[in-house]
């Protein structure tokens, strides 16, 4: 889960920036025209998932819970992606599991982003005492590898899909808080914030209209990429039995049951994992594109 940003937390940045500015090839690579095939495919897959999450019955060919005698079947015209150990249609179950994956990814990242932004802005703008207290908590949060922090939350709150979402969301808060604080510190001293103050705007208006949006926007782009890793984390929790419970169609649960039937058939395990992987790849491709487009953070 630490892969949220796919970047080292303490990269030697000044060196890196100087060097890449002097590298003409990289600069040219950064200015591409049009969205490219990869981005279009990624968006198409994300739209498919969005529809599957909102109206699963629109895309399903079978009832995802319907048990048939056709056990562990390979892909066929009747069952596009085969069937599982109870003869349930794998394709329809993957479509059914999209809601959990999408809700979990977006829900958890939203929670991290909102919590992290509140703490980050508070630390960036507050007086020394507030900053010290908030950042000490953030430091302590960062002392846990994210997966373990999520497990602690589940140990306390119990298992289940909703608790898994909350656990992953909380685990991401410290990272976002640190990023937003760094942004806030820069913006607080920027000329446009000073001009806004000079024009006589109240402190509240300055914070709400200028500091908050500008501190959060670059982090928002990084959050897109975080959606993918959050869904993987959620699927991982379901896989080890702490998230969504069977028989609900959930990618993690499907993989964990399919693992027991590997000796007979790979099909049940192949496609749910492929769906997760495609989700992560798509989100990352789109996120990186956004990052380049806006020239965003870090």
């Amino acid at each position: 889960m630490t892969t949220v940003l796919h970047r080292p937390p303490t990269a030697p940045e000044p060196l890196a920036r100087r060097a890449s500015a002097a590298n003409p090839r990289r600069a040219r690579g950064g200015r591409r025209r049009g969205p490219g095939v990869g981005v279009v495919l990624a968006l198409a897959f994300l739209v498919f998932l969005g529809v599957a999450a909102a109206w699963p019955s629109l895309l399903q060919t079978h009832d995802p819970l319907e048990i048939t005698p056709d056990l562990l079947a390979p892909p066929s015209a009747e069952h596009w992606l085969g069937t599982d150990e109870n003869g349930r249609d794998t394709y329809s179950r993957i479509v059914g599991g999209a809601r959990e994956a999408v809700l979990l990814g977006f829900g958890a990242v939203t929670l991290s982003l909102v919590g992290g932004s509140l703490l980050g802005v508070l630390a960036g703008l507050g007086n020394r005492l507030v900053e010290t207290v908030v950042m000490r908590f953030v430091d302590i949060g960062l002392a846990f590898p994210e997966m373990l922090l999520a497990l602690v939350v589940i140990a306390v709150s119990g298992r289940g899909a909703r608790n898994a979402l909350i656990a992953i969301g909380i685990a991401g808060i410290p990272t976002f808080a640190r990023l937003v604080r760094a942004q806030t510190l820069t913006i607080r001293r920027s000329s446009y914030v000073e001009s806004a103050r000079g024009l006589g705007l109240t402190e509240r208006a300055v914070v709400l209209r200028h500091v908050l949006p500008n501190a959060v926007r670059p982090v928002l782009v990084l959050a897109t990429i975080g959606v993918g890793t959050a869904s993987v984390a959620g699927a991982g929790l379901s896989f080890i039995g702490l998230g969504e419970a069977p028989p609900a169609p959930s990618w993690g649960v499907m993989l964990s049951t399919a693992r027991n039937f590997l000796a007979n058939s790979l099909w049940g395990a192949l496609f749910p994992g492929l769906a997760i992987t495609l989700l992560v790849v798509s989100v990352t491709v789109v996120g990186r594109r956004l990052q380049r487009g806006t020239g965003a953070a870090r």
Binding site: R136, D139, M147, R178, F239, L262, T277
Partner: protein, 332 residues
């Protein structure tokens, strides 16, 4: 307190605009103190979260919410585990114990937490060291082979990186299992017996981590190619291969130290899923079962131990980095 604050501030000097003018020795002491403070906070928060959970721990000892113990049994358990004492006495006892490495007794195993950890640690350390080493070697080799090459090579490499980095470890593991255990029958599917049983878990854990590391190493390597010392090495007539092996390799290894914390976090978190997938013994699977059965002393012990390892690694990297790359020492 102010010393602690100064320590944390110095610690983040690399990432924030603030700089500390403290002398190197004072800064080291402050950072160590800061790490100790963070660890204390982490232990306290874990303890508080776990023990403020609704539900009487005495029930967890006696077999979970479905058990129907007698009031006498409950009272006996409360007394045995000190659950009848005021919360602050329990907390102080916990802290005192934690400092001396005593985290109480596991509710399920009825053994000291440290004994359970000691018994399980070997398997996890084995797996983590193997996977960490493999991830680093793969990342460096792959990144140095592909850095600063033709556009097509770099494009392919980055697609491979992205795909591998996006693979959920548990799915990768299932695919490996399916091919190497069930189809080919080369390697065992479960257990801890022998080196053969270590191969698949190691690959499962290492490959996605290697892909993320490779992305970073390649970026650094490509920037290194523009550095004056590389240009001067080229001017001296060194071949491309020699430049890669001597100068770029060394520079990339340095950049990799900043990723040590990321790597350790990935290994610790990944161990939970990997050990479960392969039914291996180890700390990860022990933690999962402790979480499932609400075996709180074991959860707290394992989580505090992991946080300690993670904080320690980050501290060492923090302290070593300016020594390895003197330019950063001067900047901070």
């Amino acid at each position: 307190m102010s010393e602690l604050a100064a320590g944390r501030r110095a610690r983040s000097a690399l990432t924030t605009a603030r700089s500390s003018a403290a002398r190197p020795l004072g800064r080291t002491a402050a950072r160590v103190l800061g790490a100790v403070g963070v660890l204390w906070g982490a232990a306290t928060i874990t303890y508080a979260a776990v023990y403020l959970t609704p539900g009487d721990p005495a029930y967890a000892v006696l077999g979970g919410p479905d058990a129907n113990p007698t009031p006498e049994a409950l009272a006996a358990v409360r007394e045995q585990y000190g659950l009848d004492r005021p919360w602050w006495v329990q907390y102080l006892a916990f802290l005192g114990g934690a400092v001396t490495g005593d985290f109480g007794e596991s509710y399920q195993r009825r053994l000291p937490v440290t004994t359970v950890i000691a018994e399980q640690a070997g398997a996890t350390v084995q797996l983590a060291v193997a996977a960490g080493a493999l991830a680093v070697v793969l990342a460096v080799v792959w990144a140095l082979l592909t850095a600063n090459r033709r556009r097509a090579v770099r494009g392919t490499a980055s697609v491979v990186d992205l795909t591998l980095a996006s693979l959920p470890g548990f799915w990768l593991g299932i695919l490996l299992l399916s091919v190497f255990s069930y189809r080919l029958g080369w390697l065992p599917a479960i257990g801890n017996e022998g080196l053969a049983s270590l191969v698949l878990p190691t690959l499962t854990l290492a490959l996605p981590l290697a892909a993320v590391l490779a992305q970073v190493v390649r970026n650094v390597a490509e920037e290194t190619f523009e550095q004056p010392f590389v240009i001067s090495a080229r001017a001296r007539g060194l071949s491309d291969t020699a430049v890669r092996l001597v100068h770029v390799l060394r520079h990339s290894l340095i950049s990799l130290t900043t990723m040590a914390g990321y790597l350790v976090a990935g290994l610790l978190g990944g161990a939970v899923i990997t050990e479960t997938l392969y039914s291996r013994q180890g700390l990860g699977r022990t933690l999962l079962s402790a979480v499932s059965t609400k075996d709180m002393p074991l959860v707290v012990g394992l989580v505090v131990l992991s946080a300690a390892v993670y904080v320690l690694v980050n501290l060492v990297v923090d302290l070593l980095y300016p020594l390895i790359d003197p330019r950063l020492g001067r900047q901070a």
